[in-house]
Amino acid sequence: MNKSEPVIITRELTRTFGQTLAVNQLSLVVEKGEVFGLLGPNGAGKTTTVRMLAALLAPTSGEARVAGFTVGVEDQEIRRIIGLLPEAPGLYDALTAEQNLAFYGEMYGVENKSQQIKRYLELLGLWHRRFEPVGTFSKGMRQKLAIARALLHEPEVLFLDEPTSGLDPEASRLVRDFISELKGEGRTIILTTHNLEEADRLCDRIAVISGHLLALDSPQVLRRKIFGRKVVFHVVKASQVMVDELEKFDFVTETQIVDNKILAAVENPEEHNPILVRALVDNGAEIQFVGELRRRLEDVYLELMGAEKERDHE
């Protein structure tokens, strides 16, 4: 693979199951070291996309390349360099934690198998339970073991399909923290999740899909694209005069008073905020705080899905 080449490239990737169109002309680029989120409702094609990229399903049409290898052509090479955590951990309950990992060590031809098993079991806090059958493990422990399995052969790309699904808050946090650590190591991670807060916290960029691509960018840029940027001025006593003064500026597209907060939609807060603060102070405002209104990723997601539903109705 060319060093400058993105780790994943898909061009109009499409997959059908009989008459059902699961993934429709999906075009993505994922750079090396990026944590890339795939968001979408159930049946949006997230798992199908992951399975195609993991060389488990062949595309019906379009093209996908993973670490320089073409899906459907060089599948064995792809399987060697990726790690997959499927939706269900898929561990062998009758086998111990160590036996599960040792088995996959053989499947991937890991040379320093024992060291790798020790390393990941220790990292994930399972070393002391290594001789116990996986059937006795809690859901969180199973998920951590499945992550260890996906990492055992040091994959170039890691696919995590719903890694915190069904876990209690504590186990979810443990898994999320571990993903953060992996992110810190500069690994390329493709993360599918329904947990939007998790995606917001972990992902560098997010693709919102519903069969086809609805939006693709970093969480921050998606927020801006959909909701614009809004500045909140907390003042001692807000008045209509202050709002009227702000509306005189061309770069202010919307204003609102909520309690003693003045909201102003502006294109470039970094440039415009000093002007607005001066204007407010000149008009008698006693400013307590100035901040940017942060929309949740959930709002972005729901907005996109709402727009998609409207398009479908039309």
């Binding site: 199951f17 399975r51 993991a54 060389a55 488990l56 399903l57 062949a58 064995q76 399987r79 060697r80 990726i82 997959l84 499927p86 269900a88 898929g90 561990l91 062998y92 309950d93 009758a94 086998l95 036996q99 040792a102 088995f103 996959y104 053989e106 499947m107 991937y108 031809g109 499945a146 399995r149 996906a150």
Partner: protein, 263 residues
């Protein structure tokens, strides 16, 4: 090779935790070994057949017994009667193991990470197949050796006992046995791709034991005379059947089909 070995060990660790599998795998060979030994115990050492002459026996026995006297020929017939019973072990045992190993992977959803690894479909099938075939063949051979030892102790006529090591027995046990195991595994793989319960897979697979049972009944009733030629024909047919069935099993066991259609 390492992957195949790892799959075999993993399969054994998994399926032999299941009490039903252990029961089937151990009880059937024990029963099939014990049944002829008990029969021999009550007839082999007695003088029941001593009064028989060659003329009292059906004409086809002449080719089977050669120079043996009528009584010895009857004893020999009795001793060899159970070859086909032994042939049921290599069919049933791998069917049980393969049914649990493949349907088990489906129900516990362990196939996806396995299929995402660089192991080939052929390696998976060979590993799973051998995990069923090896115990089946070993238990067939073990049962046969136990039976031969028992027959040696219970039957006074050494000529009759030595017939247990005739080529017909050797081919049946050491060639047809493994071929029947492969037959059982291929059938189980195909059936397992369509059902979700290992017991259902095993029960449907069980239908394919009927031809072997039919041969046994045919031999008991004198319709079939088990001789070298018959066993060789059986081996030849099984080689072809196994090749066709195993290649069909590979077709059924496609990674994509498993993930998208195995429900």
């Amino acid at each position: 090779m390492n992957r195949i070995r790892a799959i075999i060990i993993k399969e054994w660790r998994e399926v032999f935790k299941n009490k039903f599998v252990i029961f089937t795998v151990s009880f059937l060979p024990l029963m099939i070994t014990a049944l002829p030994l008990v029969t021999l115990y009550f007839t082999g050492g007695s003088e029941d057949f001593s009064g028989l002459s060659s003329a009292d026996l059906p004409p086809q026995f002449a080719s089977l017994c050669g120079e043996l006297s009528g009584g010895d020929c009857m004893l020999y017939y009795l001793v060899t009667q159970f070859i086909l019973l032994f042939m049921m072990v290599p069919v049933i045992v791998p069917m049980t193991i393969a049914s649990y190993s493949i349907v088990g992977e489906k129900t516990t959803r362990t196939l996806e990470p396995l299929l995402a690894s660089p192991v080939s479909t052929l390696e998976i099938l060979i590993g799973k197949g051998l995990a069923g075939v090896i115990p089946a063949v070993l238990s067939t051979w073990g049962g046969y050796l136990l039976y031969a030892a028992g027959a040696f102790l219970m039957v006074d006529n050494r000529v009759v006992v030595s017939k247990l090591f005739d080529p017909v027995w050797m081919i049946a046990i050491f060639v047809v046995g493994p071929l029947l195991s492969l037959f059982g595994v291929s059938i189980s793989v195909m059936i397992s791709s369509r059902v979700n319960d290992p017991r259902v897979a095993e029960q449907i697979s069980g239908i394919f034991v009927l031809p072997v049972l039919g041969l046994f009944i045919g031999q008991m009733t004198g319709l079939i005379l088990l001789n070298e030629r018959f066993i060789l024909w059986m081996a030849a047919v099984l080689v072809i059947l196994d090749a066709v069935l195993f290649s069909f099993a590979i077709q059924v066991f496609q990674r994509e089909t498993i993930l998208s259609r195995w429900k």
